[in-house]
Amino acid sequence: MSKFTLKVNGRTHTLDIDPSTPLLYILRNDLGLQGPRFGCGLGQCGSCTVLIKGLAVRSCVTPVSAVRGAEITTLEGLARDGRLHPVQQAWIDEQVPQCGFCQNGQIMTAKALLDKHPNPTDQEIREGMAGALCRCMTYYRVQAAIKRAAKMMAAARRASGSEVIA
């Protein structure tokens, strides 16, 4: 056991835990977060995805020791000042989810993709999202929502004259 400080969604937590523990179980069982979910434990499906330094990270295969001190954002942390992130809003506008179980992985992966490619091509979306699996097969709407979110984020950038959107 060792002491760790984790910064999750802007809050700092100190835990005394086995350093090899995958981040997922700490987020879910110690911090009470439920955006990231167990899907495979192998880093193959994306349902446990969180954002660390702008990257979509699979928390099920990330030992807590590897993210000591890093800023971690989960699905619950995407909204700002009570307003949903444009990606989340686009997901509602396009009525994307079916069962919704995988959508944490879809949304968090899309957020990282859009931060890297603000105006992604179809090919960039297909390749960038290929590791985020969905068994209800909502891919078609996910791809539409990513394009919608890109437009919303571009409009917000123009309005604010900066790149500060989430």
């Binding site: 955006g35 899907g39 495979c40 499906c45 989960t74 619950e76 509602i92 297909r126 068994r135 891919y139």
Partner: protein, 801 residues
Amino acid sequence: MTEFTRVPKQVEDAMEKWNGTTSRRDFLKGSGLMVVSFSAAAMVNPNLINATASAAVAEVNPPAGPYKDPDFRQLDSWIVIRQDNTAAFYVGKTDCGQGTGTAFRQIMADELDMAFDKTDLIMGNTETTVDQGGSGGSDAIRVDGWPMRRVAAEARRVLLEMASKQFGAPVDQFSVSEGVITVKGDPSIKVTYGELIGGKRFNVTLTGKDIDATTGVANLKPVQEHKIIGKSLPRYDIPPKVDGSLKWAVDAKVPGMVHARNVRPPWAGAKLISIDESSVRGIPGFIKVVSKGNYVAVVCEREEDAIKASRQLKVNWEKPATPSFPKSEDLYDYMRNASPTSVTQPTPPVVGNPDDALASAAKVIEAEYEFPFQGHVSFGPAHAMADPSNGQMTIYSNDMKAYRLRRGVADFLGMPQDRVRVIWMEGSQAYGRTAADDAGFEAAFLAKEVGRPVRVQWMRHEETAWDTKGPAFTFKLRGGLDTQGNLIALVYNARTADYNHVDYNDPNTVLIGQLVGRRPSAPAKGGAGPPADMYVIPNLRRTTEVVRLPLVWETPIRAGNLRDPNGPQIAFASESFIDELAAAAKADPVEFRLRLLTGSTDDDKVFTRARSIAVVKAAAAAYGWDNRPSPKALGTGNILTGRGIAYCYRQTTIVVEIAEVEVNRTTGHVWVKRLVCAHDCGLVINPDGLLNTIEGNLLHGLSRGLHEEVQFDTDKITSVDWISYPTLTHADTPAKIDIVLVNGDPNPNRPDLPPYGAGEAACRITPAAVANAIYDATGVRIRRVPFRDKRVLAALKAAKV
């Protein structure tokens, strides 16, 4: 029967958070009354609100039961109207992701004449919602929507009678809008539903021989008068699924809860010899190894430690002396050579004289098709949490048939049924008999053994290997054409490895039941079925056969219902073969099908046949179909393109799909660039919700056609994760999907237009449409699913394409 009681403050707060909506608290404040059983559920729910349970929560004790069945013949079991003029609907269904919850609210709000956003819905809680069986059979709207409509109409009727008494005027002098009854001609005289009955019971007894037939005496609105049905209202469950606030079954937590993981036999049919518990005793928080028969699980305080213990536990197993099944690459030969355990001939078994007709045919075509075992492969591996407090058993589960889970667990544990309840919560998709059944039994068994609330979740390799499978099929078809290219005879033989098809929540066939040694008196016979088409074929014989694999019990190759249980298999063969016949007749595939649908007949299928024709034509028009035979002239480039059509009905729903493919000559890769689907499921409750359901259905069928195949050696499943059991990804999603919702009813404006169901129909024919498109593009017929690159490339090379 439901009773009423006041809701404690902390439960109100908890329910507000629990539901992730702001309306809940207002509802409760407005009513001051609530169904006791609902509050009882909520008294447990507060513990789930936060992983670090608050002091207020800890003071709440789980109720002692017993958990009586709500009486479906009481209007109060279905609808509660509160003083603030809002309503809660209680239905015995579960929403597996197709937005049926929103649709149910639309149906009931419309018949009741209340605004949609003034209503709320509670589903699948065995203690508070009537038993409509949960989900299955694409029956949510088709079957279960009817009693919902009727009870809501009855509530409206009773409320109008109350207004009539209050104002001393006949019922026909009133009009109703959004829960407000006004006197026609004098809108100043009005009363709300809440004022009439808020916080009080209807005390109205309903009739009906069973729950599906539940009815009052009110008439339903004609379709033309619907205001909410038919609108694309946004799904209420989507915002909390997108912002992370929804509590799922995987999030179910109560104080004192511990975590379990299963340890499965390494080989199918293996026998447990011994367990060395000392191999895991050193793991922090280790509580217990639970074993009975060949079932083994470890229980620890923390989840990651339970996972570690399940990997570290030393178990000595004895491998069976003989192979449990053929290798997957030998499966079809095995099936063809096996002696059937049963042979069935669908009704009618024989039409005309197929043998003579074939003998006289100008051209006879024969083909064999193969379809593998495919898994549910739930995205969220099976899970459940069970709380044994107070000598009861409360199971938190996403199992789509919560009521049968309750009955099955009561039987399995030897508990009276009224001491067991299931609280359904949202979960990963449930397209049939998933392993959620198995996990529910395991959680309850472990909770009883450990004496504490236990949460169990399967690991990925367990889910992919041990969930139930859609059964494998082989087919033999022969067809005869006359000199004009008319289909004059068809002989169909389907053979399926469906022996011992497992039922839902059956304590004798659920996996833990099997592993502890329970057996039904006989294995289920299983079965196949005839093609689901309306073609008029003058000479016809259809035979279906079931074969068994060597290992029947405790096997990971468990045949069970997977979305449209044998539809995709049968339609792949039958609709591929119709395409082969069209090609042999040098006929356009659409024209050939229309000819078969317009043949002269004296049967009673005129209604479905007329709608089939309308849907075929709608699909062809939406695609921009050009009339020509397949295959088209072979292209010269590396990418070959083509289009294929397939048609079916399921129950009364008609579906036609057209796939446009690109086939890569060098790699064998097939990309379905465009999918067109024309779909007639009668009355549509929520068009956008229906489109989402059809899109998912189409792509689920595409995934099964392109990628999915359970693989095994002679003693275990070897496809155990997303690499070894690949499915469709973003990378192979079609660039364009066009769906046309058709109302092909010969009397399209009938006021009683019924809904026919949409949860499964559209996945049925995607593999066939794609196979037909591959043929159109390449001239090569792929007769085995899935169409993975390697198989397609080998076929192209063999045909020198």
